[in-house]
Structure formats: structure tokens, C-alpha cells
């Protein structure tokens, strides 16, 4: 008897649970948010957009060359091809869409149209409008390579530093 009652209760509960989304769609509809986990914290390798694929390929080419797997000639060919692919992917996505979680400041490309004379660029604030700028007018980073400054991010280096304390780049000897 107990079993029969338990079975009937189980069946009733299950039927209610299953039919509720159909009987009360509006109530259920609000619960959409908990269908499936959000994608925060997902594996970056799960991003299979053309941009991410091309960027990863560039990275991998670099690494394969560093480990000696790619010859210099192959490296050049692949580098050229995948840089164009990555650039094409970036252009296709338009400015402003960085990595999903990058939150980086992207320079407004239209404000500084490309010119024949390469403008020096600050890593954080983009190309400077001044044609002969030596430092970024917004953060003070050194723009061109110079002794005492990091060659990549332009931060001032500490005395006899072997690595940049800001970005970790090795200081050329």
C-alpha cells in the first residue's frame, strides 16, 4: 500500500514538473536565466571565432619557431599568412570588439586615419596625434625604444633591471 501511494505521488509530481513549462509558460519563461550556466570562466580555447583561431595560430607559430620546429623560411610564410588572416578577422569584427573579457581600451581608428608616416603609438592609448611625440601625452610612456625604457611598453626601467617591472619583457642586453 505504501509503495502504491509512493508511486502515485512520484508519478503525480513528475507529471506536474514536466508539464509545468507548458501549462504556465509565462511563469516558467522568467526562469530562463538559470537554463545553462553562463560562459564566464570558460576555457579560452573554446572560443572558435575566426579571430581567436587566427590569433592562436600566430601564437603557436611563434612557439614552434622558438622550439625549433619551424624553419625560418616556413615561419616567414606562415607568419605573413596568419597575420593577414588575423587582421582580416579583426577588421571583419570591426573596432572595439576585443576578447570577450579583455576590457581593453581600443583606439578609435577613424580619429587617426592611417597615414604613410607611421605614428608612434602608446601601448595603452594608441597612436599619438603629434607626429614627433617622444612620450605619450596621457600616461607618459616612452614611445620609441630608448635606453632606460622598456622597448615594448615604454615604462621607465629600474636601475640595472633585467626585466620590465610593468610588462615583464626582457631588457635587451
Amino acid at each position: 500500500m505504501f509503495e502504491l501511494v509512493a508511486g502515485i505521488l512520484l508519478a503525480t509530481g513528475a507529471v506536474y514538473f514536466v508539464l509545468r513549462p507548458i501549462l504556465y509558460p509565462e511563469v516558467e519563461g522568467r526562469g530562463t536565466g538559470n537554463e545553462g550556466r553562463g560562459d564566464e570562466g570558460e576555457d579560452p580555447e573554446d572560443d572558435l571565432s575566426p579571430r581567436a583561431v587566427a590569433l592562436r595560430a600566430l601564437k603557436e607559430i611563434e612557439f614552434d619557431r622558438a622550439t625549433g620546429k619551424l624553419s625560418d623560411a616556413d615561419y616567414d610564410v606562415l607568419k605573413t599568412r596568419y597575420t593577414s588572416e588575423a587582421l582580416a578577422a579583426l577588421r571583419a569584427e570591426g573596432p572595439g570588439s576585443g576578447m570577450r573579457d579583455a576590457g581593453s581600451v581600443v583606439p578609435d581608428a577613424t580619429a587617426h586615419p592611417a597615414s604613410r608616416i607611421p605614428h608612434l603609438a602608446c601601448p595603452a592609448h594608441g597612436p599619438r596625434p603629434e607626429p614627433d611625440a617622444a612620450f605619450c601625452s596621457e600616461c607618459g610612456c616612452r614611445l620609441a625604444a630608448a635606453p632606460g625604457y622598456c622597448a615594448r611598453c615604454g615604462s621607465a626601467l629600474e636601475h640595472e633591471a633585467r626585466y620590465c617591472h610593468a610588462c615583464g619583457t626582457r631588457v635587451a642586453a
Binding site: G7, I8, A14, V18, I22, P25
Partner: protein
Amino acid sequence: MTLLGTLALWLAFLLGVWGALAGFMGGLATPPRPDLARSARHAVFAMCGALLVAVVSLEWALFQHDFNVEYVAAYTSRNLPIFYTWSALYAGQKGSLLFWATVLSVFGSLALALTSRRHRHLLPHVAGVVSVVAAFFISVMLFGHANPFQRLPYTPLDGSGLNPQLQNPGMVFHPPMLYLGYISITIPFAFALAALLSKRLDADWLVAIRKWTLLSWLFLSIGICLGMWWAYVELGWGGYWAWDPVENASLLPWLTMTAFLHSVMIQEKRGMLKKWNLALIIGSWLLSIFGTFITRSGVISSVHSFTQSSVGYFFLAFLIVAGVSSFALYATRLPLLEAEARLESMVSREASFLFNNLLFIGIAFSVLWGTLFPILSELVQGTKVTVGPPFFNQVNIPLGLALLGLTGIGPLIAWRRASLPNLQRQFAVPVTVGVFTGLVLLVAGIRDFYALMAMALGGFVMGTVVQEFARGTGARHRQYGEGYALALGRLLARNRRRYGGYIVHTGIVILFVAFAGMAFKTETEATLKPGESASIRSPYGWTYRLTHLGISQYDALNRQVTAATLDVTRDGTPLGVLTTEKRQHVDALGRPTFQPSTEVGIRSDLREDLYVVLGGVVNGTEQAVFRFTINPLVWWVWYGGMIVALGGLIVMWPGGSPAVKRAQAGYAVRLVEEK
């Protein structure tokens, strides 16, 4: 509790049918019907709940020793240890069907609950496929005379007890692991079908199923290794793989999934091989159902077969229907799967992966071919033939060795393109290591061609793996100035799939070396009276001397034990005492159940196992017949399996959080202008 169990089964069956209808309708309807989709999702959860109730009911009956229930009477007895009473859930045909369906519904619920929002459009179909498969398994129980809650017209005093060969710790873990592997393939399959049904055939489905495929690959690998361990310690023939049809059936999906895990990288990087990868997933799932069919039908004779029953026809019908319908669906979607296929060079990782796929599928084909050949032969030439280990060894050892060779070659070739001078530089060290290993072993007196090849190729692959780790670490050390230990750690942590994969390769090499070691197995039989000794010469050159100390008989919980004790020395050095037993299992009333079984005595070290079997006694005296076997390198199988599992875990480990990613800035990629 059998009434509740049966009700729960019926409920689960109806929920499965509803889940399938609602899922497919909800997914295919235009305009979309989110309410139906959600109902299907709820149906899977509810089915999972109902099946869990059924499992609890069955366990309840088992632990209550309700011998009026046919299943309980058939597989347990009052004096069966608790551990094995629990595992009796999947010891028999009926219970294991329930276990299958339950695990599938749990996996399905997890997949529905955990899949990220990006793939939500696939989920109604996933719920539908999971429901169909689960409903099929439940229907076999309900309509195939396989209801585990079936009652007997009378109540026996005690049950028949569990087959002694299943009363082994390995048997408690091996079937569930293997089932987990088999069953979880359904999830990638469901995602693949969902992608085909919804026509969303971009790369998204790939992301959704990659980890599930890895997970079932991992379970399957562990399950197969545990199965080998169980066969070795319990069956007493002194080996771990006999090309039994059921072993083959578990190997088949493993092979196709391993192929998939390699070729999926090409799709991720190059967008090629979409059709191939989908076909591999569908094929793996069909092979897992095929394995279930073989185990349960008795069509092909095997040590594993459950008792023959009509259940086999259900599986055959399901296999055919599922195979035809999924490949028909696949065929209609082929035009959507066209992808631009480009290959920068014939000499590239892509090409080597394709040949690796060829070998995996080739081995799978030859195993399947050999397994089915008896049936084929009967159809074609009217005579049934036996296809045993000699056949499989002859066909598969060369293929396996070729695959091992590719394991070493593939990682040395760069993705996209490679050129000759570079390849020379890449291959120099591994080839030297391989040749050197081969020469050393040749000088050491190993003349078995296959064993020599396996070990030399193993040396080559290890050369490759170590070189990969060394060069990667060196590159990090140079680029970021990390210390070598840190560089190695980060190399592994930040390229888990690549370097975790190399760890799996290491495990595979160890497994191959272990298999090669079995070429040097030595065995002898001897009749010894107490005080007499026998010697056996190990392939390493030393001699074991085993002295029979005597036989004792005593009763244990559910068995009467006859134990023979042997004193072991190696070249005169005492090593200890080995015991091997005959066990006559009895039920609670002292009545013998089953034939006497053998408990093997094993003394292991890294180099070899001394494996002692008590055959029986002569004239009812202590004079006993023994078989002594020396199995070289057996522990390498278990260690190899553990390393494979470890590598698989590393590959599977979830990716870094965004915070970690930001902290990693600082990799200078030179751009073209900076040359």
C-alpha cells in the same frame, strides 16, 4: 519495494517517450516552442529521479535479502559481503540494464544543466536523444522479460550467490567504469545529432562535446585497464588480454574516440574535417551499442556473455534503426558540412594526424572484422571458424607498432608545414634514442622481433616526448627568463592539451613495453608434496625456487578455503611466502554454490610477476598440482594505465579564469613590420 520499482520504471519510460517527443518537437518547431523544450528538459530530470528511485528500490531488495525477487535470488545470498551485495546491482543482465539507463539519465541531466548558454539552441535535441536512448533501455527491461523487479512464485531459503569471479575488488570498479565510458558517449552523440537536426553546424557543437568525449574516453580507458587487471588477478590464466569479443567491443569505441580526439584538433585549427569528425562520433556511439549488443546477445561466444536471452534482438533492432537513421540524417546534412580544405604542405602535423586516424580506424576495422568474421564465414562458406588471439595478434601487432611509430613522428612535425632540414634536426635525437635502445636490447639478447621493435619504437617516442618538453621549457626559459622548473610547470599548465597529450603518449609507450614483455612469459606445471620444491627460470636469468609448505583448509565468511602455501627464494635469497587458494563458495546454509574457483598468488616487482596457481590436489592429499608463471613487466601495464589516466585528466582540466589570463600578458609576438 518491487512495486515501487516497477512503477518508477514505467514512469521513467513514459517520461522518456515524452521527453523525446517534446524535445524534438520543441527543437524543430517553427516558430520555436520554448515551452516544449523546457518540458523536455524537465522530463530528463524527472526521468533521472524516477530511475534513481528504481535503483534505490532494487538496492533495498538486495540488502533486505528479499529472495522472492528473482534477481536478488539469482545474484546474492545471505552471506555475501556487503560490498558485493551492492555491486550485484550490475552483476546481472537485468540490473545492469537498469544501471545503464540510470547512469545515462544522470549524464543527460548533467549535460543539460552544465552546458553553457551559448549552446542552448542544441539542448532540446540533446534532451530528445538522451530520452530516446534511455527509453529504449527501459523498454528492454519492461518488454524484454528483463524486469529486475520480477518476483518468483515461491521464496527460496537463500539466493544462489554472486559468481565467485565477480567477487573481486576489480569487478566492483571495472564494470561501472566501463559502463560510464560506454554510456557517456551518448552525450557527444546527442550533441552531434542536435547539431545535425538544428542545422547549426558551425564550430559550436564541437566545443560543446569535446570535453564530454574526453570524459568518456577517460572512463573507457580506466575501465579497460581495470578490466585487464581483473582478468589478470582473478581469471588465473596469467594474462590480461585475450581478444575476447567483449574486450574487443570495449576497445572499438576507444579507438574511434582516440581518433576523434586527434582529428578534432584539425577542425579546431583549420576548420577542415567536419564530416569526418561527426561520423567518428556517430560511429563511436554505434560501436558502444554494438558492444552492449555483443555482451548481451550471446551471438558471439565469449567469456563475458550474460545468459542468452531475447534481449539481444532488441539491441540488434535498436542498433540497426539507430545506425540507419543517424547516418540518413547525416547524409541529408552533408551539403551543410562542406568546408574549404587546404593543406599548406604534405609534410605537416595535419597530414600525420590524418594517417594516425587512418591507423586507428584501420585497427578498429580489423578488430571488428575479426570479431564478426565467424558470422561472416558461416554465411559465406557455411562453416563456422574460430577467430582467436593468433589471428588478432597477426593482424594487429604490426598496425599497433606502426601507430606507436606515428606517436613519435607526429609531435615532431610542426602544424601547417615543415621542411626537410628542420625535420632532420627534430628527428636526430629521438631516432638516436630509438636505435640505441634497440641495439642495447639486441646485445642484451632479445631476439623477439616484435618485442624488440616495440621497445625500440618506445625509446623513439620517449625521445620525442622528452625533446618536446625540453625544447618547450628551453623556449620559455629564453623568452620569459623563467627558471627551468617554473618554465616546465607553466609549459604544462598553459598548454594542457598539448603536453597532457604527451603524458598520455608516455603512458601508451609504457603499455606497449609491457605488452612486449609478455613475449617472454615462462610457465611450468609441477606436482609437489609438502617439502618438495620446483624451480623456474626467469627471463632475467635468475631462478626462483618454490617449496611447497603444505595445505590448510578453513572456512571463511561465504566460502570454504583450501590454501596452499609456498616458500619462495630467488637464487637462494628468501623472498617470502606465497599463498594460492581454491575457494568453494557456499550459501548461508552451507550448500556449495558454483564450481570451486582459484585465487592466484602473485608476487610482483617492477621487473616481473611470479604468478602461482593451485590447480588441485592428487588423491585427496596435500600433494598438489601447481602452475608457476613468470610474467615480465606486468606492473608496467598498471602504471601505464595510470599515466594515461593522469594525462587525460590534465588534458580535461578546465581552462584558466580571465584573471589568470590577464596576468599572463607579456608574450612578445613579433609582427611582420618588426622583422
